[in-house]
């Protein structure tokens, strides 16, 4: 995107909350809905004498994320202390990784519209979260439930050029960590937060402009809007001959603007040094190989496979791979039905519609993929018609029963026996003798559809429509 001859240079830092059951350095639970300060212990509130112990699961999740982002995994990484004072930071320092992060030098490639975009991942390092302060005029309350929650901070290179790319990048990171099952990606609950670094320069310039950081943006739409606003603000300033000051800004979604939080002059000297309470994190080659083996197929690769092996259109493949659960659901359905496109159609239209209406996740679908797959196979076998299938589907959704059971209970088996059909058709034609006459003499046109409808009605929808057509055509010659 170029605006008034300028281009933006954007880098994004995403804090991903690792979905471990316990905190980064102690056994406190990480549950979201706990009461105030319920998920705390002497360690997470930094009582005198307490020591951190690294959560191995958090290391595993971080390595898996690093591998999925094509990063090099450091065989020996170091936890450092980042020293600063704040009431919700219980120890007076945050344990983080500084000059020796666990993951470095990765890349991520994703689609933006029709084009493919590659963004480098400078690093991904582990750290603990701080607590949360809430200000009430005269006083401040602090909740330390988040204190010590494990985070992986994924830092992109300055490779993003447009707000749309930025939002797409963030969505893709979310998609990947959700595929890996290392983060629930729930932005409302703070499981992901984005810091956007934005600068502008005249097109053709190679130097970066002064960057401004927009901190803690908690929705992809806001990422896009905040960066959009910021680019325009910076271009306006440059055009007016003003200097951009390096600062941290916040996004106000109500006013649709960013505002200054602090300038670089207030920047802290964090006095980083290796945390003497923790040993270096040593990662062996065999650990990395093990984790690599455990990596799931990632969305882009999976979408490509769905196109290549299942002959699905790109659109279907992309939609079905947005979420791992959805892709898994599709694959299980397709395996059962052996009809890829029909499986895709049923999921993308009927199932996703029902899920949306019921505000349900795919994993909570009352219809199991095997059930849906068998239903599709029943259509292909001619046991039920596509029309009956819609009834069966609805019944499956409501009751969770197997399609065979529903068909049997409701007597929905398709009548494909020509003799039986002939009998019904004869009865219908006899009861509509005048219409038959009119049809044959051409007095009335387009009566064929009427007869089909009447037969279907008489058969309670069970007649095989193809056969009905065939027999009717012969009888009405």
């Amino acid at each position: 995107m170029s605006s008034r001859g300028y281009e933006a240079v954007i880098g994004i830092e995403i804090h991903v909350q690792l979905s471990t059951a316990t905190k980064m350095f102690c056994a406190d639970p990480t549950t979201f809905n706990a009461g105030d300060n319920e998920n705390t212990s002497p360690v997470s509130v930094g009582m005198p004498g307490t020591l951190p112990v690294v959560n191995k699961k958090a290391i595993e999740y971080s390595i898996k994320t690093g591998l999925a982002l094509g990063c090099d995994i450091r065989r020996k990484s170091i936890f450092a202390r980042k020293n600063y004072f704040y009431p919700d930071l219980p120890k007076g320092y945050q344990i983080s990784q500084y000059d020796q992060p666990l993951c470095e030098n990765g890349t991520i490639t994703f689609k933006v519209g029709d084009t493919s975009k590659t963004v480098s991942i400078t690093r991904a390092h582990m750290e603990e979260d701080a607590g949360k302060s809430t200000h009430h005029g005269e006083y401040t309350l602090i909740n330390y439930n988040r204190s010590g929650i494990p985070l992986l901070e994924i830092v992109s290179g300055p490779d993003i050029r447009t707000p749309v790319e930025a939002a797409e990048y963030a969505r893709n990171i979310r998609q990947i960590v959700r595929y890996l099952d290392v983060c629930d990606g729930n932005l409302e609950e703070g499981s992901m937060r984005c810091d956007c670094n934005v600068s502008v320069r005249k097109i053709g310039e190679t130097q970066f402009g002064t960057k401004v950081e927009i901190k803690n943006v908690n929705s992809f739409r806001f990422v896009e809007k905040a960066i959009e606003y910021e680019i325009e603000r910076q271009i306006d300033a440059v055009e007016r001959g003003e200097k951009i000051i390096q600062e941290t800004r916040l996004w106000d979604p109500d006013k649709n603007r960013t505002f200054s939080m602090r300038t670089k002059e207030d920047a802290q000297d964090y006095r980083y040094f290796a945390d003497p309470d923790l040993l270096p994190v040593i990662v062996s080659d065999s650990m990395i190989e093990q984790f690599r083996k455990e990596l799931p197929e990632l969305p882009i690769a999976r979408a490509k496979r769905f196109q290549d092996e299942h002959a699905l259109p790109e659109y279907d493949a992309t939609v079905l791979t947005t979420e791992k659960d959805l892709a898994d659901f599709y694959e299980a359905t397709a395996t059962e039905s052996k009809n890829f496109k029909a499986s895709s159609n049923w999921i993308m239209t009927e199932l996703l519609r029902e899920l949306n209406q019921a505000n349900k996740q795919i994993k909570d679908s009352p219809i199991k993929p095997q059930q849906l797959g068998r239903m599709i196979a029943l259509i292909d076998k001619g046991t039920i018609s596509g029309k009956i299938a819609k009834t069966v589907f609805q019944e499956m959704w409501d009751s969770g029963k197997d399609p065979e059971v529903i068909i049997k209970e409701k007597g929905l088996v398709q009548i494909s026996d020509p003799a039986a059909l002939e009998k019904i058709i004869d009865e219908v034609l006899a009861a509509n003798a005048q219409n038959v006459e009119d049809h044959k003499t051409g007095k009335k046109k387009n009566l064929f559809g009427f007869f089909v409808g009447a037969v279907m009605k008489a058969s309670k929808g069970q007649a095989n429509p193809e056969l009905v057509n065939k027999i009717l055509q012969e009888k009405l010659k």
Binding site: D269, R271, L279
Partner: protein, 490 residues
Amino acid sequence: MDLTFASISEISDAVKAKKVSAKEVTKHFQGRIENLDGKLNSFTSKNENALQDAEAIDSRIAKGEDVGPMAGVPFGIKEMLCAKGMKATAGSKILENFVAPYDSTVVARLKKAGIVVMGKLNQDEFAMGSSNETSYFGAVKNPWNLECVPGGSSGGSAAAQAARLVVGTIGTDTGGSIRQPASFCGVVGVKPTYGRVSRYGIIAYASSLDQAGPMVSSVKDAALTMEVISGFDDRDSTTTQKAVPQWSKNLKADVKGLKIGLMKEYMKGSLHPDVQKTVENSIETLKKMGAEIVEVSVPMTEFAVPVYYLVAASEASSNLARYDGVKYGHRAEIKNLSAIELEDFYGLTRGEGFGKEVKRRIMLGTYCLSSGYYDAYYNKAGQVRRLIMNQYLEAFKSCDVILSAVTTAPAFKIGERISDPLTMYLNDIFTTSTNLAGLPGLSVPFGMSQDGLPIGIQLTAGHFEEQKMLDVAAALESASAVKGKHPHVI
């Protein structure tokens, strides 16, 4: 049985054999504390439930339960260690009213072994000091001469032990804080190999140097206490997985065939004549007992004191950041909290809460870690530290244990050096390099000064070689001039 001078195992055996009840033992030592501590100021708080705790041990013995190797043995614990329900002030105003909500691993293990916590022992504020004059709760007196310091920072532990107000104590050693006061007060003090003893629940001064250890009346008691408190702890990542040897059972006062290293660099300094004499006597004694004396060299030890102060102060500046008046501890009285800047809130609280020496080291450490100075100070100190360790490893290829003085002189007078921090820091010249290298070290009483003050001998061994060190100490103990002598205060 003379409870006052009994050893840990004598008391434990007697209690288990029901010759004396834990309650009687506790009462006896409570009486001693009551009578004598007014002169020493070694206790900062007493365990109000000590008698009930002792009774609980007695009733468990009555039921035939195994109560551990320290049944009913009264212990005093340095303020740095958290003991559930008791104050843990670290000798500081900022933690004046802090009550620990949990047991440190050391205290938990001692309790499991059957001790009765008698109370918490005075110390230099946050273990910063070599004389026990920086405590917010006042200076501790040396029981051998009340005008003298007991040494620091575990001065309360050393004084209480020397005066037999308890049967055993625990101290902590960051740059010599167990060995130096042990030497000044005539008790045995051991700093184990870094990683031997869990630091969980010990208020941190300098995490990479701190290690807790026993300060007791004999080498055997020290070995026994070490067995109880040592071992892997899943709450401290820096503890070793190595098995804990049976030091007390294996203890032998036999040095035949052992090579005792004398460090060239430690032999050239100017020692107080009484200390010089004590070191010479100890060497002669060991020679006579069949040890071989060899010269070793750790050239970089010359820089141990400045490196120690850079590392310790840097880590301390970070470790002490949590004392901010937000969650616990002292908070400055501020009339209108909402009208004050956050920075000022911290400034007022910490300004009031910390003493002079602690502030000095926080400032020093903050400076060392700040950008632009990190490489010149903290990073460089780390490099020298590694060299010191490597040179020690090299030295231990040609000897089993290194022998030296603990300090340049016997205990000095209270107030004599407090206004001269540099002289005070140089006190630690023989002790700090042990911590920097993570080695085990101890002080065993061996000589007496002309003025009637005990003088200790320092022994240092390779990593996890505590047994050799304890064996040599036991040999020296058997020929010690301090044996049978007691402080005047008793």
